[in-house]
């Protein structure tokens, strides 16, 4: 497979996962607020973590005077000026899909392209305003459809592995950011079984973990929640699950590389991170400090991402037996299409 294609496929999955996460985050927050209304909670404390989780609070402040539900929802979904908004993520997914259209199934391409057409339509804007829940569900369904089509039409080879890799790296990153927004919140149990720690409840819902956790713990114990989201082996959005998947995928990918004495770097990094999570206890994590632990986790995720890029995308450059020195192509950076220079657009258009 072309190195460039591998990169695009990975980012296609990442951007779709990103759009899905934004949708779920908004939907769960909105639902929770409907419950919290009677308790006269301060709405800002619900919307602000959303901005913190995506790291866009400063960008938001330049565009909106105050943190409101409508403002945050618009900013995270359809706002053009927000480079991380849902619409821009889906566009990026679509451009990456377009680049590798010959490699993925027609159904998969149509799914991504249809979602992009929907988000760019007037209907989408009206729906967001008047029936936001339906809007979020529409996007969620598209993402599930994407995963379903990918799962049922993609041969289990490199394309599949790179799709998984992109999805799991993105998911691990997003869940860790969400958890981090709660790292300063008290982990004490509330004294009355009837009262609910709203922030923790919101966190659970935005990770689709509410029901899964309830099967193993009847009460919303923050420590249990942290444990569940970080080191549960079975929950498909937990840190450990995601990293283990990344590791498995990387081992499969490295199998096809020429054997070398040293284990391939991405697999080694992912394996070590997976082991660290697997053999940690929640008490150790809390003792080390939740925020610091998550910070370290994210750094290591990024290192895996970089190693993947260096190993698979730049591999050809680094391959031995070059008698003349090779210069990597100038416009080649991770993240595929959207980093491409404006120049590309011009020169490519000159052709008939």
């Amino acid at each position: 497979m072309l190195s460039r294609v591998a990169d695009s496929i990975c980012w296609l999955a990442r951007y779709m996962e990103r759009a899905e996460n934004i949708s779920r985050l908004l939907l769960s927050t909105q639902d929770l607020l409907l419950d919290a209304g009677a308790e006269a909670a301060d709405v800002t404390q619900f919307w602000e973590p959303l901005l913190l989780a995506t790291g866009d609070d400063a960008a938001y402040a330049t565009l909106y005077p105050a943190i409101t539900g409508i403002g945050v929802a618009e900013f995270l979904t359809l706002r053009e000026e927000n480079p991380n908004s849902m619409i821009n993520s889906v566009r990026a997914a679509r451009e990456n899909a377009r680049t590798v259209r010959d490699q993925i199934s027609d159904e998969l391409w149509e799914c991504v392209n249809s979602l992009r057409l929907f988000l760019e339509s007037q209907d989408a804007r009206a729906m967001l305003l008047h029936q936001p829940a339906a809007f979020y569900e529409r996007v969620l369904l598209s993402s599930y459809q994407f995963q379903g089509i990918a799962g049922s039409t993609t041969p289990r080879g490199e394309i599949w592995h790179f799709l998984c890799l992109g999805m799991m790296l993105e998911r691990a990153d997003k869940v860790s950011r969400l958890l981090d927004t709660c790292s300063a919140v008290s982990t004490e149990m509330t004294p009355h079984p009837g009262s609910r720690p709203l922030r923790w409840a919101a966190l659970l819902r935005s990770c689709s973990a509410w029901h899964a956790l309830h099967t193993i713990s009847a009460r919303l114990d923050p420590v249990k929640i942290i444990e569940f989201l970080m080191i549960n082996e079975t929950f498909p959005r937990s840190f450990e699950y995601c990293v283990t998947e990344v590791h498995r995928t990387l081992e499969a990918l490295c199998l096809s590389l020429p054997a070398s004495a040293e284990m391939h770097k991405p697999a080694r990094l992912a394996g070590r991170l997976a082991a660290d999570l697997r053999y940690s206890t929640v008490d150790e994590i809390l003792a080390a400090g939740l925020h610091d632990f998550i910070d370290d986790f994210q750094t290591r995720l990024n290192m895996i991402g970089t190693a993947v890029f260096e190993t698979f995308v730049l591999y050809a450059e680094n391959a031995p037996a070059a008698e003349d020195p090779l210069v990597p192509p100038a416009s080649w950076q991770p993240g595929a299409w959207h980093h491409a220079a404006e120049l590309d657009v011009q020169t490519q258009q000159q052709q008939q």
Partner: protein, 487 residues
């Protein structure tokens, strides 16, 4: 829906003055059985499918809404077997002669020394590559994929309007149009002996595989695209997918020791055949345009040394020059000693002083074209032009007569297209695709383009053109669609 349909003074594909042409009867019946609302629903659902599938092209210089679908009209254009057989024979003859011509031009130039074509005409053609003379190409084939544009005049005679020997585009639309028809009119398609076009991808791959360097049993074939921002990117990708080969950009390829490799997740992999959709000028910055970022440094040298094959070859544009086009009938006579089966549109050359005078005297009756432009650009439509436009063109022609040719305005044949709630006649052309590999194959079908704007004669997509599916019938003895009605 066909009330008030005008057929006078043109060759109409469907109707004669008094009746329906036999090969259109079934289709017309089907169209008439729908009311305009039903028809519009099918049309909309076809349009939406194109949009969803991203069967779109980009309009340059248009910041907003750059993505458009190529307008598609549901009523198919039908070519009966006998007509098609003549077209097919004519195209085979033509691509044979063109390849003999190119081989000659890039080697001995006998056609010049025998005085059939003036040297000046060849040497001044802008896509002529003198540095390419003497280079041997695989099997002496230069044009592997050709898409000649055919038109019909008022009498129904087919003419070749131009040959596209560089990178003819549109084959993907031929295939997608058929898919759209399968959805919109499955019953109709099944009830007629319509020849399938879906083998195009497989035939193209065979054609390309044939070019592989000797001894390579399982050659690696790729499609080379300028990139995702190119207006034809959809087509490049589509064809790559139909063939089951990778699509690459210049930056994915690298040349080492005169061999071409692509950068893969497994390291370097050698490439043997490149279906390139990049013009000569951009192919290799070491040889052609130095500023090209699209090409591959060293590619041309690798081609010269025979380690990689290109389709189409370099320098084929010399035959696309509209003044050289005018000589194709002479080439057919010279190389094959045959008369052309498909005639050229009569063409006056600016380079010939006598004909140039005629052009200047008759501007308002002629279509004047710059020899190297395509896509409907650089044209003067005499009868619709203003005095100022004619004056400006006359100035250009006097300044550089070699650069212009003129043709009489053809009364292009017309075909019904759906407009609002009824059918109106619009001019059409036909671009069939010819593949030259181990043998010559013409895909039974092609892209029928329509000038959708009322009064327009230009069918190019950049100028408001649309397209139709083209049904070539295999109307054998059992179904004598060609049999004339009893008197």
């Amino acid at each position: 829906m066909f009330n008030n349909y005008e057929t006078s003074s043109f060759f109409d594909e469907v109707f004669t003055d008094s009746s329906v042409r036999p090969h259109y009867r079934a289709v017309l019946e089907a169209m008439n059985s729908l009311n305009p609302q039903d028809y519009a629903v099918r049309q909309r659902s076809a349009d939406n499918a194109f949009l969803r599938q991203g069967v779109t092209f980009n309009v340059y210089g248009d910041e907003q809404g750059t993505e458009r679908i190529f307008p598609f009209d549901l009523m198919p254009r039908i070519v009966p077997r006998k007509e098609w057989q003549r077209i097919e024979a004519g195209l085979v003859q033509r691509i044979t002669a063109l390849n003999l011509f190119l081989n000659d031009v890039y080697h001995g130039q006998k056609i010049i020394s025998d005085g059939v074509v003036p040297a000046e005409l060849i040497e001044s053609a802008s896509h002529y590559r003198p540095e390419f003379r003497g280079v041997k190409v695989p099997h002496n084939i230069y044009v592997h994929i050709c898409g000649s544009d055919l038109v019909r005049d008022g009498s129904g005679e087919y003419y070749v309007l131009e040959d596209n020997g560089r990178c003819p585009s549109g084959a993907s639309y031929m295939l997608e149009n058929r898919n759209a028809m399968k959805r919109a009119f499955p019953g109709l398609l099944q009830s007629l002996p319509v020849r399938p076009v879906d083998s195009y991808g497989a035939l193209l791959r065979e054609t390309l595989t044939h070019l592989a360097p000797p001894g390579v049993l399982d050659p690696v074939v790729v499609v080379l695209t300028p990139g995702v921002y190119n207006s034809a990117y959809f087509e490049h990708c589509y064809l790559a997918k139909q063939m089951g080969v990778p699509i690459v950009e210049g930056r994915d390829l690298i040349v080492r020791q005169d061999r071409v490799f692509m950068r893969t997740t497994h390291g370097m992999q050698q490439v043997h055949v490149i279906y390139r959709r990049i013009d000569d000028d951009f192919l290799d910055p070491l040889v052609f345009r130095k500023d090209s970022l699209l090409g591959v440094p060293g590619l041309v040298k690798s081609y010269y040394s025979g380690h990689v094959a290109l389709a189409n070859s370099i320098g084929t544009g010399v035959a696309d020059d509209k003044a050289v086009y005018a000589c194709v009938p002479k080439m057919i006579k010279y190389y094959l000693d045959q008369d052309p089966i498909l005639p050229n549109v009569p063409t006056y050359l600016g380079i010939d002083p006598k004909e140039c005078g005629y052009i200047l005297d008759n501007l308002e009756n002629l279509v004047v074209k710059a020899v190297n432009e395509s896509g409907g650009y650089g044209m003067l439509m005499g009868p619709q032009s203003t005095a100022e436009e004619r004056e400006a063109f006359a100035g250009c022609i006097r300044a550089n007569p070699r650069n212009y040719i003129a043709q009489p305005v053809l009364a292009l044949s017309r075909h019904p297209v759906f407009v609002g709630d009824h059918f109106e006649g619009r001019p059409i052309d036909l671009r069939p695709y010819v593949l030259y590999g181990d043998r010559i194959r013409v895909v039974p079908g092609g892209l029928t383009r329509v000038a959708l704007r009322k009064g327009s004669l230009v069918v190019n997509s950049s100028q408001g053109g649309g397209s139709k599916d083209t049904w070539v019938l295999w109307d054998g003895l059992a179904k004598p669609a060609e049999t004339p009605k009893a008197a």
